[in-house]
């Protein structure tokens, strides 16, 4: 069994402060900088860590009204070095999906890239809650694959483990660590009735299945599920004027909104709620896995399950869809 390193809270904090800004989830569940490491809750905070990398609202450029865009002033990527303390495995893994969207040549988002390069990800193992489903995706609350350093909280500090070159380098900078054995990683939670991930092709082949319409009638398209999802990447581009200045903004958007795909003249390929619910499920469980074998567009954080005002349960829905599809396939066979 590999060794971990036992660190005191004080020496970890000192090393993080030396590195730069320390981002943590604050009491409201948003990401903020602090001087001292806080006590964390048991699981992921309200807002996913993606907010630091692809923020809900960011400036692309600004210019003075009337001055003409020749004097356009691009927003500067934030390269301030620092670290993020308290990243949970589900949110960290979601960044791997966002990397695929925003770091893929030829269209690399320099703002996203700067943050990915300047912020060290310090994960903290969780005490899984009632809507935690990372086990569905084959990892668990101790998963270190997508962070730089993984910490397991102890009564008097942390046991740390590096999982990247820069994580290793960082741990070497922490004073007074002692080698200790690591506990075996715990399996992630999942619903007891869960039988496995759906086959992306089977889902796609059932694009016209009546089940979408049945499920779609119990969705009000508020979009909370996408707004809080750590993997959702959609945005819109808009100009806003404010006190004589015009800003071009990149603002988070969500595919559950009825006019997300509404085109000028009124044509809308996803006119009804059911077609938008289908889009969300298929994008996560069929299109992304088809385009990127090995990846799924969901990491099981369970926020959408927790926050849906109408009590829709993504995993129960996916399970139900596959059950219906499989039953019918059997009947035909």
């Amino acid at each position: 069994m590999a060794d971990g390193m036992k660190l005191s809270r004080e020496s970890l904090q000192a090393a993080l402060r030396k590195r730069g800004a320390i981002w943590v989830p604050n009491d409201a569940g948003r990401w903020a900088t602090v001087e001292a490491l806080p006590e964390l809750g048991p699981i992921r905070p309200r807002r996913p860590v993606k907010d630091l990398f692809t923020p809900p609202r960011r400036e692309i450029a600004r210019w003075k009204a009337g001055a003409g865009p020749a004097e356009i002033e691009p927003a500067k990527p934030d390269e301030t070095p620092g670290s993020v303390f308290g990243v949970r495995p589900c949110d960290a893994r979601a960044l791997l999906l966002l990397d695929r969207a925003f770091l893929q040549a030829p269209y690399v988002d320099p703002h996203y890239k700067a943050r990915r390069e300047s912020l060290l990800l310090v994960g903290v193992a969780c005490q899984p809650g009632p809507t935690c489903y990372c086990g569905v995706f084959g990892f668990g609350p101790d998963d270190k694959d997508a962070v730089d350093v993984m910490l397991t909280p102890q009564a008097d500090g942390f046991v740390a483990q590096a999982s990247s070159a820069r994580g290793k380098e960082f741990l070497a900078s922490v004073a007074g660590g002692t080698a200790v054995p690591l506990a075996a990683p715990r399996p992630g939670p999942r619903p007891e009735w869960w039988t496995g991930l759906p086959d992306p092709k089977a889902l796609y082949a059932n694009f016209d299945h009546p089940i979408w319409r049945e499920l779609g009638t119990s969705c009000m398209n508020c979009g909370v599920c996408t707004q809080y999802c750590p993997t959702c990447q959609c945005f819109t581009v808009d100009d806003e004027s404010f006190k004589g200045e015009i800003q071009r903004l990149r603002i988070v958007d969500n595919c559950q909104r009825s006019d997300f795909t509404r085109m000028a003249g009124g044509h809308n390929p996803r006119q009804v709620a059911a077609s938008r619910l289908r889009q969300r499920v298929l994008h996560k469980f069929s299109y992304i896995p088809t385009q990127n074998p090995g990846l799924v567009g969901c990491t099981g954080c369970g926020r959408c399950v927790e926050l849906c005002p109408l009590d829709r349960h993504l995993f129960a829905d996916v399970f139900e869809i596959m059950k219906r599809i499989n039953q019918e396939a059997e009947r035909v066979a």
């Binding site: 692309i60 020749a70 269209y107 819109t236 390929p269």
Partner: protein, 276 residues
């Protein structure tokens, strides 16, 4: 330093042509000399254009790809941003980013006869193909263009049509749904006129763009004429915002139309969910 792909370049409108009551063509050039000299695009590729402060929207680059310093878009007024664009005249500065998307495979079409069926503003994405074929006239076979609009006043590209009508080994058939007192040309919908024109499918490719209803009725005509689905091409219209495959807007099936399209063969479209 890495440039934000969402950041537009400034361009100056050099010429404005009011094509119809609601459609304007802008010719423009990039202000930055290095960018202007390096810029290249292929027929079918599109760009994001902005009337600064009013938004941004997607237009196909409707110019002659052999003259990439003079860029062109033809814009129909349908909403807030296109309305703002139509208030701009020669000399005004607009935002430009592109080119984006997969082009028509014109290189693969060398040696073939080219049949084009366009309706209304759908001629815009077809114009670069026509320019390209006429630039390299010896490389391609016969060019047939069937172009229709609702009324004589809705026909665009008057100057181009004069050139095309006289071009070697080229047949231009213009039709309107309903003529007026002065109209001496053909009347009838594009699919009907295409059927009557009956271009041969032999060693030929077909390209069609136009309003959805026109495309819907034109595809069966090409099929009846004997064109295989692999040899009929069109552009798919989905709402777009980024053009980069990032904003998620144009996703359909496992594709992003802005990256994997907008040009598709009919054979490819048949594989997609009917969600457009």
């Amino acid at each position: 330093m890495l440039r934000d792909p969402l950041l537009p370049l400034a361009a100056r409108i050099s010429e404005r042509i009011d094509e119809t009551a609601d459609t304007v063509t802008f010719h423009f050039e990039l202000l930055d000399e290095i960018e202007r000299k390096a810029f290249r695009y292929l027929p079918g590729q599109f760009a994001e254009i902005s009337a600064f402060g009013e938004g941004e929207s997607t237009f196909v680059i409707a110019g002659d790809p052999a003259k990439p310093e003079r860029l062109t878009v033809t814009t129909k007024r349908v909403g807030a941003h296109t309305e703002a664009l139509h208030h701009l005249y020669a000399g005004a500065i607009i935002g430009f980013r592109g080119p984006y998307g997969k082009a028509f495979p014109v290189a693969e079409w060398k040696g073939k006869n080219i049949v084009i069926a366009g309706g209304g503003i759908g001629l815009a994405p077809l114009r670069p193909i026509i320019c390209h074929v006429l630039n390299q006239r010896a490389e391609y076979g016969k060019l047939t263009i069937v172009y229709g609009a609702r009324s004589p006043g809705d026909l665009m590209y008057a100057a181009d049509r004069e050139i095309w009508a006289k071009a070697p080994n080229t047949e231009l058939v213009v039709t309107v749904d309903k003529g007026d007192a002065n109209w001496k040309g053909r009347e009838g919908f594009v699919p009907t006129v295409l059927r009557a024109t009956a271009p041969s499918p032999e060693n030929a490719v077909a390209i069609t763009c136009g309003p959805p209803i026109m495309i819907k009725l034109t595809l069966p005509v090409f099929k009846d004429l004997g064109f295989a689905a692999e040899r009929i091409f069109t552009t798919l219209e989905m709402k777009m915002k980024c053009g980069l495959g990032q904003c998620g807007r144009c996703n359909i099936g496992p594709y992003y139309v802005c990256k994997d399209g907008p040009v598709f063969s009919v054979a490819q479209l048949q594989q997609l969910p009917q969600e457009f």
